[in-house]
Homo-oligomer: 454 residues x 2
């Protein structure tokens, strides 16, 4: 029999890992709920007609396609079988979800008459990509998207930033939030005389952090930006001062550019609204080099970085005006961000931020010293569970040492021992596995002792 | 542009449905955690070598197979292309998970040296089957399995039954738990002289509830059970009295059958242990006709029915001795049950058991009466969220009526109105959307008012 294995690029998540992952997902969800976002789930499979052509040629190749059931070759011709591409179109009609955005757009288009707008939804589900597996890149991974659509107010951007603050405060991750606006980027491109090269310009300046100013300028020249343009761009990229000062300078520079001014106005509105939000405490920086998949965004662009690690972006998103136009429904504007759960996991692991105790860890193990003793424990364990304390009774009356080892390996902080002596005295012994202390307490008092410790 | 749709047999889950589904999943999970079970997740895709041959020929057909990436025809011959079956083996190496049992067995086999036994795990993930879609049968649906392996003590069965009690008590579903034992069924088959027809006998008597005694007997005759066998079986199937009485009578009948007696002993142990469990209050019936996928179980067989609906089994499982033998690892005994989340949903919907309020519903909507008013609300909404109250600020200052409609449609019970008057007086108006009452309270008191109502 061959040793079983799992497909390349996929992972099993052990209980230890799941407890950590769930801690992240549950924390994020609870904050989403506080802000009135609601859960949505779409099928793992979508029709290929929904998915194909939405992620570019490369994306089409990376879609996992599902073989039609039954005699899938039945109505194929020799011509169909002459190439993989031709045959694929005949023998596969469904593919696995590649991201959460296209299914969301498909959902909104399908149910547009039933949805109450503004529609605030979050979606946390796995996606699949037939990428070459490598360190940190998987073929199955979770995305965690939160969006509000059907509203253009800057209050949405503001609340998203407040929510980002709350999520990372809850996870104890120090962050820096970067903010930009696509309209400002358009304004800048136009101001330097290269409206037609907006993408080239933003792709280049987006690399400022990674490759530095000189290399960015070299790339811009390479893309055909002449000296005059670069001379106009340089003072913008090197704007100094705080966000307000930068915006004021920029307003002066772009004073003749309507789109640029609109972007500045939107950004000022967000900064101004945030002054009234007592919890928006993470550093927020206007970063004119921030672009992120520019073609998709039409207004605010948001990115979050962990302040204490070199792990890059852990959350990002922005405003878009055409979510559903790919499905023929125009003018659905929205704003949203995606939390990088896998990277957040890496940050928390690196900084040791996972709590020792979670809703999913066992707090108390009852040692099993025999039939009679186990019976004595059954009503006691019920009491603890009734108080919300996760508790286990070791099922077999094996050696005491083996049971203590189990408690240790599972990281269970309290062990209850009830042998003949304890039963005779109507009490139990409670052993603290962290400091080794052991106390004998009455059957009726041990619950409150453990509740206090919980 | 064609109207988008989703594959047959799959479903979108709207926020309203998701909130209900999550209520079920979260409740079940919290009880699993109380009992020391830990979460596990396995990949959606498994190698076809792991899946094929584990579910019978029919199962192999119902597996969703994933087309290999890239030029999948590259190394195929004309002979390969001559039939769908032959080609499938050449162009597909992965399939979607069909259940949670085989991946669990694969996991335990792979990580047997790292796992601390007894290993208590739960797994709640979707599975996929290329079944013909029909009412109540989907191609993608969740399973929710909980098992403890590496231990043979009847305390495990007992705790599972306690846990079942707690889960359904938390969901407010009245249940009847049925218990049987595969060894008793073997003993009965042997006692009536048809050990070789164990499967036929159990398949027939398992239908007692549905088709009635006469039809069961007819089916048994059909399968070749002669009068003498039926005469020996009849008194067993019609045993009267409570569980203890039935077991006592059965013990007398099967007194010369070792396996049968072992099954009775196991069952008596469970009944006896449950007497010490204060929360095991749901009716528990010894049901000698209960079989459920018999070939898999080796000891206790458990099934749970909703007492107040005709929706059949909502949870079931049992003891097995050979979880991992399909992967070459013998003697891994365990016991577990699977909660039928989809059916539990139907029961709760039918009986109107979903709570009005959940951790995912919005409790308070702040009406947006303009820029200045929204700014006044921002720190107030932060306060509420800080108290754990899910709150939204309507993002656009549209017509009052439209905003109230939004609150109504979303089922939000409280609306906060803060206009010029309220701002001047440093207060807010709180409208109860259920009884229509409206109160004006100070900016500092409204939080405690709503906390009380929460």
């Amino acid at each position: 029999m061959t040793k079983p294995s799992i497909p390349k690029g996929t992972r099993d998540f052990s209980p230890e890992t799941m407890i950590k992952r769930n801690y992240i997902f549950d924390t994020i969800k609870s904050i989403f709920n506080l802000y009135g976002y609601k859960p949505l789930e779409t099928p793992s499979m979508e029709n290929l007609s929904t998915l194909m052509g939405k992620y570019g040629d490369e994306g089409d190749k990376l879609l996992f396609k599902i073989l039609n059931s039954g005699d899938f070759l039945a109505s194929t011709t020799d011509e169909d079988k002459s190439s993989s591409i031709k045959l694929m179109h005949k023998i596969s009609e469904k593919g696995l979800r590649y991201d959460l955005t296209v299914p969301f757009a498909r959902y909104v288009t399908m149910y547009r008459n039933d949805i109450v707008f503004p529609f605030k939804r979050y979606q946390m589900q796995p996606v699949w990509r037939a990428d070459r597996p490598q360190k940190g890149r998987y073929r199955e991974f979770y995305q965690c998207d939160v969006d509000v659509i059907g509203t253009t107010s800057m209050l949405n951007e503001t609340e998203l930033i407040m929510m980002i603050n709350d999520v990372f405060k809850a996870l104890k991750i120090n962050i820096i939030i970067k903010l930009n606006n696509r309209k400002i980027l358009s304004g800048i491109a136009s101001f330097i005389g290269y409206s037609d090269k907006l993408t080239d310009i933003t792709v280049a300046i987006d690399k400022m952090d990674k490759i530095g100013y000189d290399n960015v300028i070299a790339e811009l020249r390479d893309k055909g930006i002449e000296d005059e343009g670069i001379n106009r761009l340089t003072p913008i990229l090197t704007l100094a001062g705080d966000n307000r000062t930068k915006l004021a300078s920029l307003k002066e520079i772009l004073k003749d550019n309507e789109e640029g001014l609109k972007g500045i106005e939107e950004t000022e509105a967000i900064f101004s609204l945030l002054e009234d939000c007592p919890n928006a405490t993470a550093p927020l920086e206007l970063d004119l080099t921030l672009a992120r998949g520019l073609n998709y965004y039409t207004g605010a662009i948001i990115e979050v970085k962990s302040a204490d690690t070199v792990i890059g972006s852990i959350c990002g998103g922005g405003r878009y005006d055409n979510l559903t136009s790919i499905f023929g429904l125009p003018d659905v504007s929205g704003v949203g961000v995606s939390f990088g759960a896998e990277r957040i996991y890496d940050v928390m692991n690196e900084l040791n931020l996972f709590p020792e105790k979670s809703t999913q860890t066992t707090q108390v193990l009852f040692v099993n010293l025999g039939d009679k003793e186990a019976r004595y424990c059954l009503p006691l364990i019920s009491k603890l569970r009734h108080e919300g304390i996760n508790s286990e009774l070791y099922p077999d009356s094996v050696k005491f040492r083996k049971q203590m080892e189990y408690a240790n390996k599972r990281g269970i902080p309290f062990v209850i021992i009830a042998g003949e002596d304890e039963i005779a005295k109507n009490c139990v012994s409670v052993k603290n596995m962290i400091n080794g202390n052991q106390n004998t307490v009455g059957k009726d008092e041990f619950v409150s002792l453990l509740t206090k410790n919980n």
